[in-house]
Symmetry: C2
Subunit: 157 residues, 2 copies
DNA sequence: ATGTATGCAAACCATTTGCAATGAC
DNA sequence: GTCATTGCAAATGGTTTGCATACAT
């Protein structure tokens, strides 16, 4: 599982080299921590995680580094909700779509290989697709259950 | 074209009535202006538009009202980019997906009825889908052209 | 030695909140 | 008359920026 970092480390080094950017400890430490997240994460989660493991990195550096990782095509940015941006390893994001509960904000992933294929095969003029996100908004079973329970009280609507 | 407002006005009235919310002039004026936008809009655009037409409405009321319109299922929220949220009439959003240029941020719409159907037919356990968004990120032809032109200078990479 | 990267703190800005005044019911 | 709604201004909080210091090259 951790060996995804082994691969991405090489890609990062390649990118930093061709772009003439510096190979700092912070950049590798950040990528390493990102590889340990099971899926999405936000800046705060990453910040806290780094603080309690290797070494603390400033927020400014985090934002800067995440932009580099996006440019290097290693991670992607999600905006499921207005509050706080979420990130994810691109390699992981490619394998699933997202179910987002409009009530509680919970995000779940689902595999949908056939749909992915259809999207990839779409013919689009004057546009070169690189990456896509499919967000399906709705209600998770927990919230639906809560809602039904609440509605039992007012049967006359 | 404007008669979409005629329809939505009725739906809004229904919603406000069942939810025991007040039918204020502001709420109808806001919905009316929204119906005049050809597609996406943000709070600022709506605020300016209202100021130069009917009457000025405060930002606080705008945010409040948009939340009601979302709850009433008349509009949807988009987060194409981190900066500023965009909104769109739900009836319009259902007809297309979005192409977003990662370089210049331009958003274009494309119709994709077969894909929409596939997504609707997906079987998802423990989740009730209400609405979905497909964002395809990539490069628009203008930016691609610019990039190619720039790269001609440095052939040695 | 040079100039990029980092950390800190201040700035920014869209959105939210608190509260007094207004107006729908 | 009551209480939801509005407008205003202040607060919030995630993200960005400016600048002095640190360090990769």
């Amino acid at each position: 599982m951790e060996n995804i970092y082994t691969d991405l480390k090489i890609l990062l080094t390649d990118y930093l080299t061709t772009q003439k950017l510096r190979k700092t400890d912070e950049r590798y430490a950040i990528l390493e921590q990102i590889c340990l997240f099971p899926s999405h994460f936000d800046i705060c989660m990453l910040y806290d995680r780094l603080k309690e493991t290797n070494f603390r990195v400033s927020k400014a550096t985090l934002y800067n580094t995440l932009d580099i990782l996006i440019a290097a095509d290693l991670i992607v940015k999600h905006q499921f909700t207005a509050k706080s941006i979420q990130y994810e390893l691109k390699a992981m994001a490619e394998t699933h779509s997202h179910l987002i509960c409009s009530m509680c904000g919970a995000v779940r992933e689902i595999r949908d290989s056939s749909l992915k294929r259809d999207i990839k095969n779409m013919k689009i003029s004057r546009f070169t697709p690189m990456f896509h996100t499919l967000y399906i908004y709705g209600m998770c079973s927990k919230c639906k259950y809560k809602l039904q329970k609440n509605n039992k009280g007012n049967t006359k609507q």
